[in-house]
């Protein structure tokens, strides 16, 4: 398995501000995935981050709102910009491991509350 460190674990933010979430992995990985889990809901993919290229966003998510950086093979950040109460969710990063990346592991998540 992998050790995935995600920070912060939780935050309470004011409307209109931005928060950057960090995800650090203890091994090199090609792809990192960012998910959002709204209260009482399942996980929804925000974007896929590949080192050295622009992130690929899913329908309903845009780069201006959720900019992602992937400076190297062990680290990524997700920023939630110009926050509103609707952004209150758990945000999770995930990486694939194994010979064919068949196992996906998750960070511990960031609980975001927007007032």
């Amino acid at each position: 398995s992998a050790v995935i460190s995600q920070k912060p674990s939780r935050d309470i933010c004011q409307r209109g501000t931005s928060l950057t979430i960090q995800c650090q992995v203890d091994s090199q990985v090609t792809m990192m995935f960012w998910y959002r889990q709204q209260p009482g809901q399942s996980l929804t993919l925000i974007a896929t981050a590949n080192q050295g290229s622009e992130a690929t966003y899913e329908s309903g998510f845009v780069i201006d709102k959720f900019p992602i950086s992937r400076p190297n093979l062990t680290f990524s950040t997700l920023t939630v910009s110009n926050m509103s109460p609707e952004d209150s969710s758990i945000y999770l990063c995930s990486v694939g491991l194994g010979g064919t990346n068949e196992k996906l592991f998750f960070g511990s998540g960031t609980q975001l509350s927007v007032l």
């Binding site: 995935f33 399942s42 996980l43 995930s94 196992k103």
Partner: protein
Amino acid sequence: AQTVTQSQPEMSVQEAETVTLSCTYDTSESDYYLFWYKQPPSRQMILVIRQEAYKQQNATENRFSVNFQKAAKSFSLKISDSQLGDAAMYFCAYRRAGNTPLVFGKGTRLSVIA
């Protein structure tokens, strides 16, 4: 597009008994993986069990086993000898082969009654 359906929003089981959580999926791919994840109140996503679609044998991990019916596109999770620590949200997930993301079902909340 691939979809994953969990038709049981909530389930309960008596401690030490057995419970089965249902999951169906839809895909046109032939090479893929199926997963069950557990999410306790700590919100950590914990991999419970994984099944490769090309394997006919059902995966087993201690008290957890699956019933994989490829033709029916069904992937149920059986928890034997249920323990209080098994109480959590359980998500069924699909992933096609390659470095691809997971597609999740809506989840089943499992309660374990002492």
